[in-house]
């Protein structure tokens, strides 16, 4: 697509794109290229010499059971966060889509958590479910649960998933509500005239029509769980206890802090880049399809 009517100038357009191009080249392409190059190099213990080692850094990573565990853990977290947040948000959106009094107020009261930063989410939840002083922990203990996420890895993972899903409810709710409102009312009426009860109407008519939105949100939620949970994990568990809540991004961060193996850390970054590109690619293909339909 091109404009028919344009300006003639030799230098001006370059001056206009220059600031963005400069920032993108310095702060995006240069570091990305550095990461890729470094992932093929091996540095000796004193940082004096480097050798080109092809894919050795990658092979080392995939042979490392700890890295493999982090991959599995990250995908498990993503799926758990996405499914729990999406289903709760869908329930709320279906309710808010009904012609109710005060529906605007409901919307306002449900969308604000979008604006809460991940580390703040972490702080709020860690306080609520803190083993010794958390308000909810009291009730959990009263119910006979031996609640201590500081020592129990599964409980720590559950805590992260709950907090991360909580933050994402508002985003999912907004997109579900928009999706529901774009379904023509006549379709639902037709189903009602055919005698379908509300539950049946939902599963046979509304849910299939909503599937593009669900798929879009699934991808967005997985990307969110990969990257934006960093702040939540860092304030709640710092990857612990043990490595029970260490995701791929958190591993890149801690491995880099320890400052040990530059090549391995770069290889980890490159693997993350590939994962994001694949996820974005899936999302773009889907958006294309939505446009042509």
């Amino acid at each position: 697509m091109q404009k028919q009517s344009i300006f003639q100038s030799k230098l001006l357009p370059y001056a206009l794109v220059a600031p963005q191009l400069a920032i993108v080249l310095i702060f995006f392409y240069w570091p990305a290229a550095q990461a890729v190059i470094q992932s093929f190099l091996l540095q000796d213990a004193f940082g004096l010499s480097t050798t080109f080692v092809w894919f050795e850094n990658y092979l080392e990573l995939f042979k490392d059971p700890a890295y493999f565990a982090a991959i599995v853990r990250t995908f498990a977290f993503s799926l758990a966060i996405a499914v729990s947040s999406l289903s709760f948000a869908l329930l709320l959106a279906v309710m808010a889509d009904k012609p109710l009094r005060g529906s605007m107020l409901y919307r306002t009261l449900l969308i604000w958590p979008y604006a809460v930063a991940p580390p703040v989410v972490g702080v709020l939840w860690v306080f609520m479910l803190h083993p010794s002083l958390g308000v909810l922990s009291r009730y959990l203990r009263a119910m006979g649960v031996d609640w201590n996420p500081l020592l129990n890895g599964d409980q720590a993972a559950a805590l992260i998933i709950l907090a991360a899903a909580w933050k994402q409810i508002s985003y999912n709710f907004l997109f579900f509500l928009a999706g529901l409102q774009s379904i023509p009312k006549s379709v639902i009426e037709a189903a009602a005239i055919d005698g379908a009860r509300p539950m049946r109407r939902f599963w046979t008519v509304i849910f299939p029509l909503l599937s593009p939105t669900i798929f879009f949100l699934l991808v967005i939620n997985i990307v969110y769980a990969f990257f934006d949970t960093f702040g939540i994990i860092d304030t709640m568990t710092r990857g612990g206890p043990g490595k029970a809540t260490e995701t791929l991004v958190y591993k890149v961060y801690t491995d880099g802090l320890l400052g040990g193996n530059l090549g391995s850390s770069a290889a980890q970054s490159v693997i993350l880049m590939v994962i994001v590109i694949v996820l974005t690619g899936i999302q773009f293909r889907f958006v294309e399809r939505k446009v042509t339909y």
Partner: protein, 282 residues
């Protein structure tokens, strides 16, 4: 319109209020905790009703800070966050709108190549290239500076794509008309295109401000001086690993202060927020 029976309607109201309660409960707890005495909270005896330490806690939080590891007043952290968020939002909009203008309204060699160079940045968030980016910022002596905080986060294509898309929908007749009036590229941009883009810019600003204010990993890496800390980084440093030393009322007050500006923006500018959210995800 499909009529809902009475029971169904009550059920919907009930479910929505339960949802709101679940969503709001952690924040309610933070409000309550920020008004209570730390000793009571540390004992696990916290009541679910507000206490009487409101002014005391917030005064200490805003102007003094915790007595532990970080003595930085939170007001100062909020100022840092504000400057960073504004730089990111304004900077991104400014560089994006002019580069989109060049790409749409001019023909020049490498135009599409430049467009793709910018477009590809859409795919990689700063989290996947933190250490190499850190090294460059360090080499440029930008650690502990506002430029170092904001520049790497400005490098992304969302805003450029958005403005490009919008400019494509602006009718050609407007350019013809202003050309007849003798307007050059600067006048046309300033007098015609910019006023037309106002709503788009506002929607984008709302989203970018929230994203900027909520940045965490990047500021955590590149700020070492306490007086350059943003509020998101500051709050993490307040939670000490030895529980006894954590001043929970101050931590909770800081958490509430950290969410106040972005939540205020979402609630007050809801229309722009929803528009911006939907458009940046396209």
């Amino acid at each position: 319109m499909v009529e809902e029976e009475g029971f169904q309607r009550y059920l919907a109201h009930a479910i929505l209020w339960i949802g709101i309660a679940i969503v709001a409960f952690p924040v309610y707890l933070a409000i309550v905790a920020s008004t209570q005495d730390n000793a009571v909270i540390a004992n696990g005896q916290m009541s679910l009703l507000p206490g009487g330490h409101f002014f005391e806690t917030y005064y200490q939080t805003l102007f003094v800070g915790t007595s532990g590891s970080t003595r930085e007043p939170v007001l100062n952290m909020m100022l840092n966050s504000l400057i960073m968020a504004l730089l990111i939002a304004v900077g991104k909009i400014a560089i994006s709108i002019i580069s989109a203008y060049a790409i749409v309204y001019f023909r020049f060699p490498f135009r599409m190549a430049i467009f793709w160079i910018i477009f590809i940045t859409l795919m990689l968030p700063v989290e996947v290239r933190i250490y190499p980016t850190y090294k460059i910022v360090a080499d440029l002596h930008l650690l502990d500076s506002y430029a170092g905080l904001s520049l790497p986060l400005i490098a992304s294509a969302t805003a450029t794509l958005l403005f490009r898309q919008f400019f494509m929908t602006v009718p050609d007749e407007l350019l013809e008309a202003s050309r007849i009036d003798g307007a050059g590229p600067f006048r046309f941009f300033w007098d015609t295109l910019l006023p037309l883009s106002r709503t788009n810019m506002a929607a984008l600003f709302v989203i970018l401000f929230i994203l900027g204010w909520n940045q965490y990993l990047w500021p955590l890496l590149i700020t070492t001086r306490d007086d350059m800390q943003t509020i998101q980084v500051g709050i993490r440093k307040m939670i000490t690993t030895t529980d006894a030393l954590t001043e929970w009322p101050v931590v909770m007050a800081t958490a509430l202060l950290a969410m106040l500006p972005p939540v205020f923006v979402v609630v007050v500018m809801q229309k722009l927020f929803v528009r911006g959210l939907v458009e940046t995800e396209k």
